[in-house]
């Protein structure tokens, strides 16, 4: 897949959580670049900061320090409403626990991010929803509620929802974590297909089998990006 320039660039990103008098350094000076059309996997042991990094990449959270450029624009200090707007237009989320809304049908769930986009006509929304569901082979379940679907089907709907807004990047947080291996593989194939069609994907996973689907793998350990060799060494030291 051709690289079409830098989509995300972060420099010296830090995130510190304060609880009472305890400071927890979730991220410590992370540098990362993601190019358009790239399929990146972030892995690392539990608590290494990968979900925190993903939240900051998705503008769900703000960094304590450092720079974050999205599409060349600094986004680390935007207002809540600007972050909402960018999240809605540029980012598509795929969660481990699908996070579909039980009261809404499949169609309504997929349409949801489009309803927050000002000025989009209803017909346009319906068209995009249909296309997104067709891409994940769930168009025939439009009228169903999430509870009427299997886990694999729910995650495909979640992927369709992430795609419907034509985002610049799909952020997937352990997308197979709640699925059996067969459905997990199916979802990974779906992401691979999307990547082949041009989508930029950043996926958090701790499963090396699924990380292999990505073009590039970034390892995190104690809030820092490390090489694979460093990761092995640090893990062994920690276990020792």
């Amino acid at each position: 897949m051709a690289q079409n320039g830098t989509l995300i660039e972060i420099e010296d990103l830090t995130k510190i959580f304060y609880t009472d008098e305890v400071e927890t350094h979730a991220l410590s000076g992370v540098h990362l670049t993601i190019s358009r059309g790239e399929y990146l996997a972030m892995s690392g042991p539990s608590g290494c900061g990968k979900s925190t990094l993903l939240s900051i990449l998705g503008l769900l959270d703000t960094p304590t320090g450092g720079k974050y450029l999205l599409n060349g624009q600094p986004v680390e200090n935007l207002s809540f409403s600007d972050r909402s707007r960018i999240r809605n237009q540029e980012i598509g989320f795929i969660f481990q626990s699908f996070n579909l809304i039980g009261d809404l049908t499949v169609e309504e769930n997929v349409e949801l991010p489009l309803t927050y986009r000002a000025g989009m006509a209803s017909a346009e929304r319906k068209k995009r929803v249909k296309e997104a569901l067709e891409r994940v082979n769930m168009a025939h379940r439009m009228r169903h509620y999430p509870a009427q679907l299997s886990g694999g089907q729910q995650q495909r709907v979640a992927v369709a929802r992430a795609l419907a807004g034509s985002p610049s990047i799909l952020l997937a947080d352990e997308p197979t974590g709640n699925l059996d291996s067969k459905n997990g593989e199916a979802v990974m194939h779906l992401l691979a297909d999307l990547h082949r069609e041009g989508s930029t994907i950043c996926m958090v996973t701790h499963d090396p089998r699924f990380a292999k689907h990505a073009q590039r793998e970034v390892h995190l350990f104690d809030g820092k990006v490390v090489s694979e060799q460093e990761l092995v060494k640090l893990t062994e030291e920690a276990e020792a």
Binding site: S55, G58, L60, D61, F80, S81, S84, R85, R87, N88, Q89, F93, F95, S97, F98, N99, L100, I101, G102, D103, L112, P113, Y116, R117, Y145, P146, A147, G151, Q154, R161, G165, N178
Partner: protein, 812 residues
């Protein structure tokens, strides 16, 4: 049994460890139950116990003759009463009585008391046994004669004679005549007129001695109220039929004494037109219905609280079920908790009702009427309140208990279904309860609004006189031993001298004051008028002094006001009002025409504008005003129009009257404006309570909406996180929560309007100048309710919008 005890202990512990929930639920139910208990205590004291101190009033009927009226005069003459009593076969007993003011004399200043002249079997028919001595029964052979015997009321015995146990046989002086006390009536017995208290009973034959009348032998003078007791198996209608047959024979035999309408109708005591119940039996059940709606609202609120709480206790229930608890056992446990809450609410309500039951008396303005409308918390109120509490527990707790016990323990214990958030049916029940709350609130607020508008309209009505700057004082010359001539002269002098007091614009006497239930009515025969068959010729009648119209500032439409020259030595004259002219001499010049009252013809010298003399909401009735100087009345009310504050003139007026007779007691010194508050007292009671219930309903609805929206928002925190992750701005979340509340409110408003349009037509009889479907009231209520509902949603909406997305997504 042991399990029940365990459940009870567990329930008590649950309530103790959740003081917030317990206080809110108990307080909410207490409000609703107290509203019902208060109104019920009044119904208990009036409709259910129309004449206190008497059991089994259900078989008793009061008799009315002629056209039915809300304010009938005593309908029977003594001879007619005796004939009815002698010939009826459908009644077990028939009593007659006439009550009015009299005075205990013989001491210093006379003490004014309200008493009754009663037929000899009065106490026996009522089933009242004296606690000391005997009743009037032995006077029956001499019922027409003046037998100087008296039965004291319990309160008079206590207040005037300090409960002297040896009172029987002692002498008391009534209106200057000695009476031997033969007995004391039991505590709580006030006579048989609803809402009015008599303190002494004398034989009927004492009419001349007490009031100087000679009505006992005159078949043409109606002065007795009559009450009968139905024989077992006889209906009131059957009794009325029989009494009418007897009456027809009397009318045929004595036609001169029975002109006008003579048809006898009966009423059960609870809605007797003789007394205060006639004004209450329509209003109080309506208020009870409104209170019941308020209680339903409170139940809906508590049901919602229980639903919320049951969600929080799902794991506890699942564990209990997994350990073998049946659904019935869980329901029982929850219902015991609900019952404890409701009983605690009932107990709090009872405490509150001890105070609120007395509010009925608070509404009664200063009046000359011997009102006795004291309600209290007695055994019946206690039992009813406890029963309502149990019912409340069932209504508010049954559905939440069934819901809570209907869960799947496996699913709850696994705590699954994390993949989706929100449940399709999760909050539907809560939402339905809120819709019901808004609907019921709207109903209560509409009723309150209609009552308020009705009272406003009544108060805006021109009463036909100027109530400002008028001082009133009452005196009674009978106990002072005045003859008619002496009394007339005394009254003339009072009017003359009071008119000379600086600051007095005009002063006159009358035997009534407007809108205080003191005006009388009388049958008159207007000259040239041909009545329809059985048409009542009863009109309002007042005896008034010179310049009455000028003093009251009632417009004179034709002719002249009464003057000092209208005395016993001159032609009998009268003033009639426009309603009288319209009814009897429509299109004719009334001046110079005559009407007959008894055997006397009165010539009309003036036509007054219509006024309101009984109740503001009544249409003006025909009225005749006769000169007091021509028709002496011993008990009169002095009307003094002043240039300044009317109460400032009080010392000067008292001094002036006492210069004429230093021992003359003066009663009920007040202003006309205060006195006429009696004229809309029942409307004000209805407005106060309907408005209070409406306000409480508004608060309950606001709390209900807030609770459900806040709870639902908290339940959907995760969903809100998802929405934010997908790009929802804070404004979107805020709007979403508001829209949720607005949808519930709109549904409630729609349902409420439909219910109200169905219910409010039943209030028509209680409304004045406003339709039951008054658009302005509905619109105002809808706007108020909408604003309050949105305000209730504001806090949860703002809280939801301020959640950080990551924090929301982590919430399960």
């Amino acid at each position: 049994m042991k399990n029940l005890w365990l459940d009870l202990r567990y329930a008590l512990r649950q309530l103790r460890i959740n003081p917030g929930f317990t206080a809110l639920a108990v307080g909410t139910l207490a409000l609703g139950i107290a509203a019902n208990a208060t109104i019920f205590s009044w119904i208990n004291a009036t409709i259910l116990d129309p004449i206190p101190g008497i059991r089994r009033t259900g078989k008793m009927i009061t008799l009315q003759r002629g056209e039915r009226s809300e304010h009938p005069t005593p309908p029977f003459s003594y001879p007619d009463f005796v004939d009815l009593r002698a010939n009826t076969r459908s009644l077990n007993g028939l009593l007659g009585y006439h009550d009015d003011w009299m005075s205990i004399t013989g001491g210093g200043k006379p003490e004014r008391i309200y008493g009754a002249l009663a037929s000899s079997d009065y106490f026996e028919v009522l089933g009242v046994r004296p606690i000391l001595g005997r009743t009037l029964l032995p006077t029956r052979p001499n019922e027409r004669l003046a037998v100087p015997e008296a039965v004291l009321g319990y309160s008079l015995w206590q207040s005037h004679f300090a409960g002297d146990p040896a009172i029987v046989g002692k002498t008391i002086e009534i209106n200057l005549h000695p009476y031997t006390i033969v007995g004391v009536a039991p505590k709580g017995f006030h006579g048989c007129k609803t809402g009015l208290r008599a303190d002494i009973w004398l034989p009927l034959g004492d009419d001349r001695q007490v009031w100087g009348s000679n009505r006992i032998s005159d078949r043409g003078v109606s002065w007795l109220n009559v009450l009968g007791v139905l024989k077992p198996g006889v209906s009131a209608a059957q009794a009325a039929n029989e009494l009418n047959l007897i009456m027809q024979q009397l009318v045929a035999r004595y036609p001169e004494a029975h002109q006008g309408a003579n048809r006898i109708s009966t009423d059960p005591l609870w809605r007797s037109p003789f007394g205060a119940n006639v004004y209450l039996y329509g209003t109080l059940p309506t208020l009870l219905a409104l209170a019941a709606v308020l209680l339903l609202l409170a139940c809906a609120n508590v049901a919602n609280l229980l639903l919320v709480r049951s969600v929080a206790r799902r794991r506890e229930f699942a564990i209990r079920m997994s350990m073998g608890a049946t659904r019935w056992r869980l329901v029982r446990q929850l219902m015991i908790e609900n019952l404890l809450v409701a009983l605690a609410g009932g107990a709090a309500a009872l405490l509150c009702t001890v105070w609120t039951s007395r509010l009925l008396a608070v509404f009664l303005p200063s009046t000359t009427l011997p009102l006795a409308m004291g309600a209290s918390v007695d055994r019946r109120v206690l039992v009813a309140t406890m029963l309502v509490s149990v019912l409340t527990a069932l209504v508010s707790g049954a559905v939440p208990a069934l819901r809570a016990s209907g869960l799947s323990p496996a699913a709850v214990l696994k705590d699954e279904s994390l993949s989706t958030t929100g449940g399709l049916h999760k909050s539907r029940l809560s939402g339905s309860l809120v819709v019901a709350q808004v609907a019921l609130s709207l109903l209560l607020l509409v009723c309150a609004g209609l009552f308020v508008r009705s009272l406003q309209n009544a108060q805006k009505v021109n009463p036909g006189f100027d109530p400002e700057h008028v001082f009133l004082v009452t005196f009674d010359l009978d106990p002072m031993g005045y003859s008619s001539a002496q009394g007339t002269e005394f009254e003339r002098q009072v009017m003359e001298r009071v008119n000379e007091i600086p600051g007095v614009e005009s002063a006159t006497l009358a035997d009534f004051s407007p809108l205080s239930f003191t005006i009388h009515s009388e049958d008159v025969i207007p000259e040239g008028y041909v009545p329809r068959p059985h048409e009542s010729l009863e009109v309002d009648r007042g005896e008034v002094g010179p310049r009455y119209l000028a003093t009251l500032r009632t417009p004179l439409l034709a002719g002249r006001d009464l003057t000092w020259q209208d005395t016993a030595a001159t032609q009998r004259v009268a003033i009639v009002n426009q309603a009288f002219v319209n009814r009897y001499w429509s299109g004719q010049n009334a001046i110079g025409k005559r009407f007959k009252d008894g055997d006397v013809w009165f010539t009309v010298v003036g036509v007054a504008a219509n006024g309101k003399y009984r109740r503001l909401i009544y249409h003006p009735a025909p009225l005749v005003l006769m000169p007091l100087l021509q028709r002496y009345d011993n008990e009169v009310i002095l009307h003094v129009r002043t240039s300044g504050d009317p109460l400032d003139i009080r010392p000067a007026v008292e001094r002036t009257i006492h210069e004429l007779n230093p021992n003359l007691p003066l009663y009920n010194e007040t202003t006309l404006k205060e006195s006429m508050r009696m004229g809309n007292v029942f409307e004000r009671i209805a407005v106060f309570f309907a408005a209070s219930f409406g306000l409480l309903a508004l608060i309950l609805a606001a709390v209900g909406i807030y609770g459900v929206v806040a709870y639902s928002t908290r339940q959907r925190t995760h969903e809100i996180g998802i929405r934010m992750a997908l790009g929802a701005a804070r404004a979107d979340v805020f709007r979403q929560v508001l829209v949720q509340g607005a949808r519930l409110t709109l549904a409630g408003l729609a349902a409420g309007v439909a219910v109200s349009l169905f219910i409010t037509p039943f209030l028509r009889g209680l409304l004045y100048g406003v339709g039951a479907a008054d658009g302005l009231t509905y619109a105002a209520v809808a706007v108020i309710l909408s604003v309050v509902a949105l305000a209730a949603c504001f806090v949860p909406a703002r809280r939801a919008a301020s959640i950080e997305p990551m924090q929301a997504l982590r919430t399960e």
